[in-house]
């Protein structure tokens, strides 16, 4: 069973991220609900949303292609029209990649959201924008940096240790920023001689 990672780069705004998810869900409908969603750490501010396809079909070989399209859909208010536009785009996109012989070899593609983005959406929900910007986003930035550093050396490297380490770090940071965590810290501080 092979997976096709699809990197989605956004301007990192939560709304856009939701929008990306929506787009991918639409793609996944067309692809039979089988996309593997792997945002890479790149993102583009503002004008463009880039979807990167990383073809891992060949052993130890990564073929990398990019599909750019403007965020013109952002300005479509009518959700129905937006959906139609997206569907049209997704179909032409599918047509393009279906002609790729390597992609033709795909058997299964699965849609998942990486753990760092899941955690980030939780922290976004629980904490202030200041904390999000000054604490949690910076952990994700370091997390992605370490992933990239490892992948630069070996494209097939396991990311398990990095993901486990940063998941723990993220949870610790959330704990420290939580009212209970702050209270315990204050008690320890007062109790110290």
């Amino acid at each position: 069973m092979r997976k096709l990672p699809i990197g989605v780069e956004t301007d990192y705004e939560f709304d856009s991220y939701q929008w990306v998810l929506k787009t991918l869900k639409l793609f996944s409908n067309i692809f039979g609900n089988n996309l593997f969603y792997q945002p890479r750490y790149e993102y583009v501010r503002g004008e463009k949303l880039i979807i990167k396809l990383v073809d891992l079909l060949n052993e130890n070989r990564v073929i990398y292609s990019q599909i750019f399209f403007p965020l013109q859909f952002d300005f479509i208010d009518d959700p129905k029209i937006l959906e139609e536009e997206l569907e049209m785009f997704a179909k032409s996109w599918r047509k393009d990649i279906l002609y790729s012989p390597k992609l033709n070899q795909l058997k299964t593609i699965k849609l998942t959201i990486p753990v760092n983005y899941k955690l980030l959406s939780i922290s976004k929900f629980l904490f202030s924008p200041k904390n999000q910007k000054e604490v949690f986003e910076l952990i994700i930035a370091d997390w992605n940096d370490e992933i990239y550093e490892v992948l630069e050396k070996n494209k097939d490297a396991s990311l398990f240790i990095i993901n486990a380490r940063y998941t723990y770090a993220f949870i610790v940071a959330m704990w420290m920023k939580s009212p209970i965590g702050s209270l315990i810290e204050l008690v320890i501080k007062i109790a110290k001689p």
């Binding site: 910076l138 930035a141 370490e146 920023k177």
Partner: protein
């Protein structure tokens, strides 16, 4: 005159020590340079707190092409941070010296 002695926690002390000796640094660089004293889960919480106290300042460091991504922040010690660090260092040195224990006769 401010009589309140600004005490630093061991993490804050280490961060200021690194920033004063190395200049601007990323959080991850501080973690790597601290030989295990600073952790991934706590450094940004500590840096945020130090920023609120005015000990450190930071600026967003945009990614350079082709490296683009969530921008990281570069931290540096402020004048106040340096003074607080020096004060704590001196206090620590004095505390460890013989004089502090009445050892010089």
């Amino acid at each position: 005159m401010n009589n309140e002695f600004p005490k630093l926690s061991s993490k804050e002390f280490k961060i200021l020590q690194l920033l004063i000796s190395n200049g601007e640094m990323f959080g991850l660089e501080m973690i790597e340079s601290s030989e295990g004293e600073l952790k991934r889960g706590t450094i940004y919480v500590t840096l945020q707190r130090m920023g609120d106290k005015g000990y450190v300042e930071s600026r967003e460091e945009p990614r350079t092409h082709p490296e683009i991504g969530i921008p990281r922040r570069k931290y540096s010690a402020t004048g106040l941070g340096e003074r607080v660090y020096q004060t704590n260092l001196k206090a620590q040195e004095f505390f460890n010296s013989e004089l502090a224990w009445g050892g010089i006769n």
